[in-house]
Amino acid sequence: MIKLKINGTEREIDADEDTPLLWALRDEFDMTGTKFGCGVGLCGACTVHLDGVAVRGCQTAIGDVGASEVTTIEGIAGKAAEAVKAAWVDLQVPQCGYCQSGQIMSATALLTDNPKPSDDDIVTAMDGNACRCATYVRIHAAVKRASEMMEG
């Protein structure tokens, strides 16, 4: 049994240590907001937070999580998260929407760390999150909008 703390709740899972956090979340805990895209850390659809830091769920083995707190799109909260989700709705960011959980997780981690990111900061922090619908322009604007909301 491996113990994980997910969105503030202690969970137990009977699975091998090399099981990626992504699949523990999706198949064992029925938390399907975190998406599978490439399986090798190239697309960012599976982005979650470990102690507030954005990581790829497909590249994070549950045996390595230890006491770190896992946060997913289902549990994300706080000033930055609320601002990001509100900005995503305000600017109507998603199209197919499949990558957006990961985008929001990366954006929230960025703004928690750096509430006033520059354009370059945004591109750098979000670079690992691909969007095949190419909603990049609205994502960029929404991160800036969220940053403004956090000030207000």
Binding site: G39, L42, Q92, Q95, R132, T135
Partner: protein, 745 residues
């Protein structure tokens, strides 16, 4: 049992062939006003078809589409699959406008299979940028009819003349007495009434919802992780399946050396042999995948050579060489004037070969399918698809159950781009059915990204040879094009579209608007061994690149400015001229360059395209960075005739333009030694965030018949970029992607 590899192309869409309908032109078929309704086209059982044809006129039976709930919300069963294009929101706006219910109170679901939903001239699909234009009047009529019935029901209940009643956002009001009744309270009585044969539609000048930038209905769910896709489906007792296909497409597993050991692995339920694949079922997908990928499988050998299958020596370079080398006589695709005579007397001739590669769809949601045989004898499927009735029919054949026993759920799609038609074995749903049958349990098959890159059906590699004749003033007097290859219409819809000219192979080459008096376009069909597909904007995705780039070669040969030459050759086409004006104005006035911005040279290129009933003019601005092309700006003037939601239109055009740029710069699905040379996004490069240009879109509503929106932003991008590159570097790139070339400028 019907299996995936029995799914022969020739047969694939034979079942789509509606009785008595032959030899349709695609244009006529896709024309909204075409008369004959091909009702029940997709119902193979004679009885069902007869019943459907006699009883049901698609798009008319209100209860099949609309449910008025007591909480004031409206459930709309849409014929269309939502995949990011915004059709669910658009449909709510259109119905809501006439029904008089605010679109935000609509819940839109993709309807189950059924003849009511065959609203595209008797056929049902989500594709061809066709949803809104085909259903605009259907949705308006449905909303207006139901509103009329609600008013009549209220008139009867209140015993007042109909004319004294009006509606107000879900309520029927009688102003004189101050009484009002909410829709849901009237619906039972309303639906007992005979729908009026004709109902007045709302005067467009009074529209409140149509043409407004209304919020998408799915944005909140998609911004909180709550949106549910096919991959997210789960049912009680379900097994997860992972598969590995043969490295060589079409090869079969013959032996599995470590099957017994594999069965002892944690969570593994069984090892399975499938047509062209092996599978493991397990109690989680990770365990299934881990097990299937360590199987030691022996596969049959591919054929050593030849182009009838993907042989051991098949390569995309070899395929292109075969297309170029073809000497077969073509069939005329467009003939105007006498091109041969014009060539014979020309002052100057030019010729150029153009090609574009196989492409993958690369939608971010990997394919999955969930199948469950229910105790009542039904087969229930949750599958990514853009044509539910077609999948239903093939599911019935695969499972050997009657078609009416197949229940199809069509969840929203994590990326569309043409991926989800039925292209032979490129969908996992056959496998899900076979495994559910074999295990006696519900099974969800999910393909890894690597399996998806192996199995995705490809945008066809394409080739056209262009030549033009110029007069002594440098004006083009004739153009000839020889297009060799195959399009997805010919592959998958040949039983419906009998025209020997495959429209999906030549669109973007024929029917260009320019006044070049002599034109001779021919098409030579050469079949690919590769499973080919529709890919966003289909034939336009490469052909407008070919023809609009060659246009600039004509301009260069005649020493003309490419923008000015387009104006001259469009002087009798006010719609096109206007778009050229608009796009020039948007970009600060036409200038080709090169010119300097912050010390770096840039240049611009222009293109036009007429895809899916819409018109576009595009200008691209490029520079060269570290030997590669960087696109700074795309200006797109877009005329789809008229629109429903400007914000959704804008995002669709942006998105299409970005996909077009991705293909222009990077994308390529090459074969060598019979094997695809890409396996994930590290080898199949797509546009990165850093490369996303500024995309400026201006919507022009000319009032011409409504055209498509989802695809038309794409075709103009490649030629505008390539023309800009030529202006900047002098290099004329005739083979995509640009990543293959290096630039010195």
């Amino acid at each position: 049992m019907k299996i995936a590899h029995d799914f022969a192309p020739a047969e694939a869409l034979a079942l789509m062939k509606p009785d008595g309908v032959t030899n349709l032109s695609r244009r006529g078929f896709l024309g909204v006003s075409a008369g004959a309704l091909l009702i029940g086209a997709l119902l193979p059982a004679g009885q069902a078809r007869a019943q459907a044809s006699e009883a049901i006129k698609p798009g008319t039976r209100i209860p099949a589409f609309l449910e008025l709930r007591s909480d004031g919300t409206v459930r709309l069963l849409s014929p269309f699959v939502e995949g990011g294009q915004g059709i669910a929101t658009g449909a709510a706006q259109i119905v809501g406008e006439e029904l008089d219910v605010h679109p935000s109170r609509f819940a839109v679901e993709c309807a189950p299979p059924g003849p009511d939903y065959a609203v595209i001239n008797g056929l049902r699909m989500t594709g061809g940028s066709f949803s809104t234009r085909s259903s605009y009047m259907v949705f308006r009529q449905l909303g207006a009819s139901l509103r009329d019935m609600l008013i009549r029901a209220a008139a009867a209940r209140l015993d007042v003349p109909r004319a004294e009643l009006d509606t107000d956002d879900g309520v029927v009001r009688h102003a004189a007495s101050g009484r009002s009744i909410v829709y849901a309270d009237l619906v039972a009585e309303a639906l007992k009434l005979e729908p009026a044969s004709e109902v007045a539609l709302r005067d467009p000048s009074t529209f409140r919802y149509i043409r407004q930038p209304m919020d998408r209905l799915d944005v909140r769910d998609k911004s909180t992780g709550k949106a549910v896709y096919a991959i997210d489906q789960k049912v009680e007792g379900m097994l997860y399946a992972a598969v590995v296909h043969g490295e060589h497409f079409g090869t079969e597993p013959t032996a599995i050396a470590n099957e017994a050991e594999t069965l002892t692995m944690s969570g593994v339920h069984a090892v399975h042999r499938l047509p062209g694949a092996v599978a493991v079922t397990a109690n989680s997908w990770f365990r299934a995948r881990k097990a299937v990928e360590q199987l030691e499988v022996t596969w049959t050998a591919p054929k050593p050579t030849g182009l009838d299958t993907i042989a051991a020596d098949f390569s995309s370079a070899g395929m292109l060489a075969a297309l170029k080398a073809s000497t077969d006589k073509g069939v005329p695709a467009e003939t105007v004037g006498d091109a041969d005579a014009a060539f014979a007397s020309a002052a100057r001739l030019i010729e150029a070969d153009y090609d574009a590669p196989y492409l993958a769809h690369g939608q971010l949601e990997p394919p999955s399918a969930l199948a469950r045989f229910n105790e009542d004898g039904t087969l229930e499927l949750w599958i990514s698809n853009q044509m539910p009735e077609l999948f239903q029919m093939y599911a019935a054949k695969t499972a050997d159950v009657p078609v009416e026993k197949v229940i199809v759920h069509s969840p929203m799609l994590g990326g569309f781009f043409g991926r989800h038609f039925l292209y032979g074995s490129s969908s996992p749903f056959f496998q899900a059915i076979l495994l559910a049958k074999e295990t006696g349990k519900p099974v969800k098959v999910l393909w890894s990204r690597e399996e998806e890159f192996k199995m995705d059906a490809a945008r066809p590699l394409s080739f056209s040879r262009f030549s033009a004749a110029l007069d002594k003033d440098g004006m083009p007097v004739a153009i000839k094009v020889r297009t060799v290859g195959e399009g997805p219409i010919g592959r998958w819809f040949s039983s419906v579209f009998k025209d020997p000219v495959d429209s999906s192979a030549v669109e973007g080459i024929v029917a260009k608007p320019y006044a070049i008096p002599n034109r001779s376009m021919e098409y030579v069909k050469v079949v690919h061994p590769v499973t080919i597909a529709f890919w966003r904007s289909v034939g336009h995705s490469m052909n407008d690149y070919f023809s609009e780039s060659f246009f600039d070669e004509i301009a260069a040969a005649g020493d003309k400015d490419p923008y000015e030459l387009r104006r001259v050759l469009l002087q009798d086409k006010p719609r096109h001229l206007h778009l050229l004006d608009v796009v020039a104005t948007m970009s600060g006035g036409w200038k080709r360059g090169p010119y300097e911005v912050e010390g770096v040279k840039r240049a611009r290129g222009v293109s036009m395209a007429s895809p899916f009933g819409s018109e576009t003019a595009t200008i691209a601005e490029v520079s060269i960075e570290d030997g590669s092309v960087r696109v700074h700006n795309l200006w797109i003037a877009f005329d789809p005739g008229s629109i429903v939601n400007p914000r959704i239109v804008q995002s669709q055009v942006e998105s299409a333009a970005a996909l077009g740029l991705s293909a222009t710069l990077h994308e390529e699905l090459p074969y060598e030694g019979g094997v695809r040379q890409v396996s994930n996004y590290d080898t199949y490069t797509i546009l990165s965030r850093d490369e996303m240009p500024k995309v400026h879109v201006e919507i022009v509503e000319s009032g011409e018949p409504m055209g498509g929106v989802g695809e038309p932003g794409l075709p103009g991008v490649a030629p505008a970029v390539v023309n800009a590159v030529a202006a900047l570097t002098g290099q004329r790139i005739r083979s995509l992607p640009l990543a293959k070339a290096t630039f010195g400028a």
